[in-house]
């Protein structure tokens, strides 16, 4: 077992720890790799144009958080505390933004509010290119993430608390303030930090719609791609790492507390019909759902007409990707290939890794270190990881530099980038299994891999599928992790969206972004069918 821990641990070291370490080192080096101490940082903080970005990033992230979290709370409240109709549909609609690259809302906003936008007047002369556009796009992107966290927190409600409150004659507002909100507070805190971090590290939205408004993420990109100033790119990356790591630590602490809440034996809460309230909640969800869908719909519509919104003649010309600035149709197939490889290879690595952390005996230090490495990616923004990959894999002295710009490195990177969520999903599934399975097997003289294959894997199959689809969807949509390491032969669909937007072919960019969306919808549908089929065929033992 130690050998297995060693192999997967080595992967995390090579694909995560070493590149990150090297990047930290680079931020302390000059152009000829000589050690210059904190000179780069001094230069950074004495360049007003750069320092300005810190304030911009914090402002945009705070504003997005303040808007997204209450919106998501209201939506989650409607889904869990009302008896309005179509709750399943509304939940599905709210999760749509997960399936598209964060570049897409930017493109749609350009069509709606841009210089030639459809409803440009709604902004009353303000430009969409800047903080307004970034915040709108980020609210769209982060909404489902906040929603899922708050939904989970609200689902924990104990019906007995509500019954006790009613028995004590508490008014509805009082019950809301004394029972509902305190019960969801960890979820709200967690959602706040997740939204804040996602926005501050996101690269897609500010790139497309940020205009001249610089934020930390676009600065990293400009320093590296525009000015080839890798040292300064490393400095900005380290600064970007600070809020991400901080938010990560707070989130961990908060989640640990929430587990304690969970352990109480609660009776699930069932809302009662209240026609007026249910109708109001339905109206609220219709507004939000319509806003989300309109972003997607505008992108699709614009991709299918000559020149939205002035010439609405139908055309497929924008889909002729091979004649456009991006990587052509090849980039789409590359993305599908990357997503499939990441889904399959990543799931195996993540699941076996989690199994070893959770079930191996002894070697406590090695397992703790492994777990730490598995949690680390959550705190590392994709751009930072990507830049670290340049330093590590593009170094002439590194024998692994043959991988640079290949599909292999893209898979390596993407698996690591999204490692943590899969790791936690697998751990949760494994922890629900009796810890004595391994002991019993040992007493029956069975090698551990036999029990792993015959019991652990079948029991955890639904969770492994969840990990696979999560990795697939994220591999399709990611931009930040791969923007520094793709090559001419390995351009991806999401990168094509970025490049076509750069060359002004916005309709084609939207068309490609929608291709990503449909692929993810298809994958999710397939996942659903497969999960249902599996449940019927192999999970018979779950039924009593």
């Amino acid at each position: 077992m130690r050998a297995f821990i060693g192999v997967i641990g080595l992967y995390l070291v090579v694909a995560l720890a070493l590149p990150l370490g090297l990047m930290l080192g680079k931020s302390l080096q000059g152009p000829r790799d000589e050690f210059v101490g904190v000179a780069n940082y001094v230069r950074y903080f004495s360049t007003p144009a750069l320092v300005q970005s810190i304030g911009n990033s914090l402002w945009v992230a705070s504003l997005s958080t303040v808007i997204t979290v209450p919106l998501a709370f209201g939506y989650a409240y409607a889904l869990t505390r009302s008896r309005m109709r179509l709750r399943g549909l509304f939940k599905t609609v709210a999760l749509v933004p997960i399936l598209v690259p964060s570049l897409l809302p930017g493109l749609a906003l350009v069509y709606l509010f841009g210089n030639q936008g459809l409803i440009k007047g709604a902004l009353r002369g303000h430009s969409i290119y800047g903080p307004i556009g970034i915040v709108m796009a980020e609210v769209f992107t982060t909404f489902p993430h906040a929603l899922l966290i708050i939904l989970a927190a609200l689902a924990l409600a104990d019906a007995r608390l509500y019954e006790a409150a009613v028995a004590l004659r508490a008014s509805r507002p009082r019950i809301f303030w004394t029972v509902t909100l305190p019960g969801a507070r960890y979820g709200l805190i967690s959602a706040t930090f997740v939204v804040f971090t996602t926005v501050i590290t996101d690269f897609g939205a500010p790139k497309v719609i940020g205009g001249q408004y610089n934020v930390l993420a676009t600065d990293v990109y400009k320093q590296v791609i525009g000015q080839q100033n890798f040292q300064m790119g490393a400095v900005v990356s380290v600064i970007l790492l600070v809020p991400a790591v901080f938010a990560f630590l707070v989130d961990r602490a908060v989640r640990r507390r929430q587990v304690a809440l969970l352990s109480a034996r609660a009776v699930p809460y069932e809302p009662k019909p209240q026609p007026g309230f249910d109708l109001a909640m339905l109206a609220y969800c219709v507004v939000i759902g319509a806003a989300i869908l309109s972003i997607v719909a505008v992108s699709q519509y614009a991709a299918l007409v000559k020149f939205f919104p002035y010439n609405l003649t139908f055309t497929l010309a924008h889909y002729d990707f091979d004649q456009k600035g991006g990587g052509g149709w090849a980039s789409y197939y590359n993305s599908v290939r990357l997503a499939l490889l990441t889904g399959v290879i990543g799931t195996v690595i993540v699941f076996v890794g989690a199994y070893l952390v959770e079930k191996a005996r002894g070697f406590a230090f090695g397992r703790a270190l492994f777990h730490f490495l598995a949690m680390l990616p959550m705190a590392v923004p994709g751009l930072v990881l990507g830049l670290a990959y340049i330093f590590f894999f593009n170094a002439p002295a590194n024998p692994l530099n043959v991988l640079y710009r290949t599909m292999t490195i893209l898979v390596l990177n993407t698996v690591v980038h999204f490692y943590t969520v899969g790791h936690l999903t697998a751990l949760t599934a494994l922890r629900q299994m009796d810890p004595e399975f391994e002991t019993v097997s040992a007493s029956l003289k069975q090698p551990f891999y036999r029990t792993f294959w015959r019991v652990t894997v079948p029991v955890c199959l639904p969770s492994t599928l969840d990990i696979a689809i999560y990795l697939f969807v994220n591999a399709m949509t990611t931009v930040s992790g791969v923007v520094f390491i793709y090559g001419p032969q390995t351009e991806l669909a999401s990168i094509s969206v970025l490049n076509m937007d750069d060359t002004g072919e916005i309709a084609s960019a939207a068309a490609m972004a929608m291709m990503i969306f449909y692929t993810n919808v298809g994958a999710r549908g397939l996942h659903l069918l497969l999960a249902r089929w599996l449940e019927r065929r192999t999970q018979a033992w779950r039924r009593r």
Binding site: R361, F437, V440, S443, L444, R450, R454, R542, R543, R544
Partner: protein, 361 residues
């Protein structure tokens, strides 16, 4: 006596600064049913896991059937194990669970099927072969776990609180079942439990543990009748403790009364703790001239089904509270109620004396 089947010598297990097992030595004969009994945290489970090789001990030696197994991993040792949680594989049927340990032993498929059949007959679950564990009751699941552990015919059966998760009625029934099965198969068995009733009814010998050391080893009757320490006396059953002083060999003073007892070897004047079981207090047939005759007022009378428990306050003993178990019939016949005053006596051979005063309560 033949060579012991399992010999544990000077076993010590430390978790950092905490000593979970302190210099434990123990011998278990072939075919014996031994219970490790003690409060939680006493080290009984740690000792079981050391025997299984799940937590390797810090120092000492374990021999099984004459072979030193101290350094062997669990897979190289010869035992079957059953846990409180059953640990049945949820995705395998009852038959597949039982067959799990037989499948890669190069046994022919027909032989495996036959053996599984045999075992399921043995535990009376032959008609449930193709059910999944979730479809069985707790008691049935535990029997399947037992069959699975016995499938490979191990030399040693380890039971880790196997009945603790079950309902009271099922538990009592399974105690009997397990004991019968063990006797029929003659497999050396160690069971860990914190339930004294379980230990008293099932074990050939009981090992009472506390704070990582063995307090006493003996038959259930010995443990109950002659507890070797105040801890054992208090842990097993109900016990009255009264502080007293030795007058001379065979005589101890409690309050203003001298009681005859079988204690000797204490110097006169030694502070001692005297232990008396509630059921050993005699209220019937106490003659007025008997020297140990005491009297006490009934402070509270609790009906416990098959008997009454009286809280007696005896002025002569120094106003200590003594619990006495009285037959229902006696209480009714003599009209005993709260505030009644009773004469009682304690037979000398039922009095246990431990050095040191005020050890308890």
């Amino acid at each position: 006596m033949a060579a012991p089947y399992l010999r544990i010598q000077r076993l010590t297990k430390k978790f950092g600064a905490f000593t979970a097992l302190d210099d434990i030595s123990l011998e278990i004969a072939e075919g014996e049913f031994v219970c490790f009994l003690g409060p939680s945290g006493c080290g009984k489970t740690t000792l079981l896991r050391a025997i299984a090789g799940l937590d390797i001990h810090t120092s000492g030696r374990i021999e099984q059937a004459g072979r030193d197994i101290s350094a062997l991993p669990p897979t190289k040792r010869d035992f079957g194990i059953v846990f409180q949680s059953y640990a049945l594989f949820p995705n395998l049927t009852v038959a597949k669970n039982v067959a799990y340990g037989l499948e890669n032993t190069r046994a022919r498929r027909a032989d495996v099927t036959k053996r599984v059949r045999e075992l399921l007959d043995l535990i009376g679950l032959a008609e449930h072969t193709s059910k999944y564990p979730a479809q069985l009751s707790g008691g049935q699941q535990q029997r399947v776990a037992l069959a699975r552990a016995l499938a490979t015919a191990p030399g040693l059966l380890l039971l880790d609180e196997p009945l603790s998760a079950l309902d009271a009625k099922v538990r009592v029934y399974l105690r009997h079942e397990v004991k019968q099965l063990q006797r029929r198969l003659g497999v050396t068995t160690i069971m860990v439990t914190h339930d004294q009733e379980e230990a008293l009814t099932m074990a050939d010998r009981i090992v009472v543990m506390n704070h990582g050391v063995i307090e006493q080893i003996g038959s259930p009757l010995q443990i109950y009748r002659e507890p070797a320490s105040p801890f054992v006396a208090d842990f097993i059953g109900v016990m009255n403790f009264v502080t007293g002083t030795i007058v001379r060999d065979g005589l101890v003073r409690l309050g203003r009364v001298d009681l005859a007892c079988e204690a000797d070897g204490f110097a006169p004047g030694t502070q001692v703790t005297v232990a008396i079981r509630p059921e050993d207090i005699v209220v019937e047939d106490v003659a007025g001239d008997q020297r140990e005759a005491l009297s006490g007022r009934v402070d509270a009378l609790t009906f416990l089904g098959s008997f009454f428990r009286a809280d007696l306050v005896s002025e002569a003993l120094g106003n200590v509270l003594v619990r006495a178990d009285l037959p229902v019939d006696l209480v009714r016949r003599r009209g005993i109620a709260e505030k009644s005053v009773l004469a009682f006596a304690v037979p000398r051979e039922r009095i246990r004396v431990y050095p040191g005063g005020a050890l308890h309560r």
